[in-house]
Amino acid sequence: MNNTAASPMSTATSSSGRNTGKSISFAAELQSMMYSLGDARRPLHETAVLVEDVVHTQLINLLQQAAEVSQLRGARVITPEDLLFLMRKDKKKLRRLLKYMFIRDYKSKIVKGIDEDDLLEDKLSGSNNTNKRQKIAQDFLNSIDQTGELLAMFEDDEVDEVKQERMERAERQTRIMDSAQYAEFCESRQLSFSKKASKFRDWLDCSSMEIKPNVVAMEILAYLAYETVAQLVDLALLVRQDMVTKAGDPFSHAISATFIQYHNSAESTAACGVEAHSDAIQPCHIREAIRRYSHKIGPLSPFTNAYRRNGMAFLAC
C-alpha cells in the first residue's frame, strides 16, 4: 500500500496512452490554477506535473467506474446521473456539485436576458433549457433517494465550510495585492478545465472509450477535476503548515516521526530543504497529503471513501 500511495505515477491501471509520452499537458494551466487557489505566485513545475498526474489518474478511474454504472443501466452514453450516483455517499461534496450546477443554470438564465442575440438563440433552440441541470439533478436524486437525505440537500442552506475557507483564503491573498497583481490573479482564477473543453477531452482520451460522456457530464467532470486540484492544494497547505514545528506544540515529536521516510529519501531531502525559503507547495507536500487522505486508520475506515483503486481514494468524491 505504501508503494502505491507514495508514487501514484506508477499505477498501472491508467490507460496505456499515458505511458507513451502524451503530448497534452495541463501543467502550465495547473500552475495558474494553483496560484489562484492559494499557492505561491509561481508554483513549482514539478508540483504541477505531480498534480496533473494525480488528477488524471483519478479522473480516468472515475470515468471507468461511471462507464460501468452506465453499462449496468444499459445506456450508451455516460450521463450526469451516473456521476451523481457515484458521488451519492459523500453529502458535502455532492451538495457542492449541486450548487455548482444551479449556479451554472442561473448564470445562463441571466446572461440570456441581457444579450438579445442569446435570447433569440435560446428561443430558437426550442427546448426548455432553463434550469436544465437542476432538473436533471432533482429528477435523478428523487429516483434514488430512499431515506429523504438526498432531497433534503436541495433545501439545505448550511454554510459549506470548505468553500468558506477557500473564500477567506482568497480574500486574504488579495487584500495585499496591488491592482496589477490583482488583475493577474483574477485571470488565473478564471482558468478552468471547462474553458479548454476539447483539450480536456483529449487529455482524458475520451475518444477511445466505448461509452463516452455527454455534454453535461463533461461539464461535471471538468468541475470535479477542478475540485480535485482545489482539494489537493487545501490539503497540501495544511500539511505544509503542520511541517513547521511551532514552539509549544505538544505533537511536534509525533509529526516529525511520520516524515522520517520522506526526509530520508534523497529526492525529497533537497526539495524539503528548499522548502523553508520558497513559498510554493512542494511535491512532497502533495504526496503526504494524499497519503494521509487515503490512510485506512480508524474504526470507520473500511466504510469511508468506498471508491478506491490502488489504495488511492478519490479526492473529488
Binding site: 451554472r104 441571466i110 441581457i114 435570447l119 433569440l120 430558437l124 473564500m167 488579495t174 496591488d178 482564477r189
Partner: protein
Amino acid sequence: MASAPRPERVPRLLAGCLPPYPPPPPTVGLLSMEQEETYLELYLDQCAAQDDLAPPRSPLFNPVAPYGMYILNASNLDTALNSNPEVKEASGDFSSVDLSFLPDEVTQENKDQPVISSRHETEENSESQSPQSRLPSLSEQDIGLGLNSSSLSNSHSQLHPGDTDSVQPSPEKPNSDSLSLASITPMTPMTPVSECCGIVPQLQNIVSTVNLACKLDLKKIALHAKNAEYNPKRFAAVIMRIREPRTTALIFSSGKMVCTGAKSEEQSRLAARKYARVVQKLGFPARFLDFKIQNMVGSCDVRFPIRLEGLVLTHQQFSSYEPELFPGLIYRMVKPRIVLLIFVSGKVVLTGAKERSEIYEAFENIYPILKGFKKA
C-alpha cells in the same frame, strides 16, 4: 462585457408637477364597428405619420376612408397588396431615412410631424445639441400616445378625440414650456443623477411585449414583409427586424409580440408600434394592447477596480462568484429586485428591472458598497 457609457443622453428631468392628463371628452357609448375602425385608423395613421418614411403621395397619407376600406374588406387584401407594391416596400423598410424632410402638403394632423420627427431625430442622435425642452416634450408626447394605446382596450371612443387633442397643441408650442403638454408620465419619478457620484447607468436593452389582438398568418407575414424570417420547424414565430430603432421582434401567431433591442422605453414602444404597423399593412386588424416592458438592462462603469473576493465574503447571502464559470460576481439585490453583474474592471450590469427607477435605485445602493472594496 458592457460597452463604455454612451455620451450623455440626458435623462428626463421632470422638475415640478406636471399638469394632469386632459380629461376625456364627454363621450357617448361605444361606437359602431366601422366607426371604431376608422378611429383606429386615424389613430394609427397619426402614429405612422410620425414614423413613416414613405412619401406622402402613397396611400398611407391619404384620407382615412380609402385605406380603411382596404383593411375592412378582407377579400381585397391580396389585390390591395399586389396593386400596391410600394405599400409593401414601405411597410417592411424602415431604414434610417431622415424624417425631417416631410413636406408641407401634409394634412393638418400631420403638420406636427416635422417638429415631432425632428425631435425623434434629436433624441435618437444623442450627440446632437437638442434643446432640453424638446426631449421631455417628446417623451411626454410619446407617453401620452402610449397612454392612449394602453387604454385602447378600454374605450376607443373616449380616446381618439382626446388623442387628436393632445397631438394638436404641440405644434402650436413646439419649443416651449413643454411641461404644459398634456400628459403625465406613467413611470415613477426618476432621480437620474445619483447623489453620491455623477455616474448614471445607461440602458442597453429593453424587452417588451404587446398584444396585437388578432390571429396572424405567419407564413403570409414572412412572405410579404422584408427583414422577416420564419422557420416553423425551429421556432413557431416570425423574427422581424427594423433598423430604426434597431430592434428585433418575435411575432407569434396568437398575435402576441416580443420586441427586444431598444435602448429606451420610448424607442421600445416606437419600435413595437412600427412592427404593429407592418402587420397592419399586411392586412391584419392589428391593435396595440397591453404594451408592457418586461425587462430592462442597464450598465455603467464605476471607474475603479473592485476586489470581488472581499465582496463575496461579506455579502455572501446575496452574491455568488465563480470565476471559473463567469468572470463577474452575480449580486442579487432584494430591494429593488435587481440582479447586478459586477466585474473586476469596475463595470456593472444591472438587469431584471421593470422600470428605469429600479435601475437607478439599485446602482445607488451598490455604489457605496463597491467603493468599500475598491482595489487601490
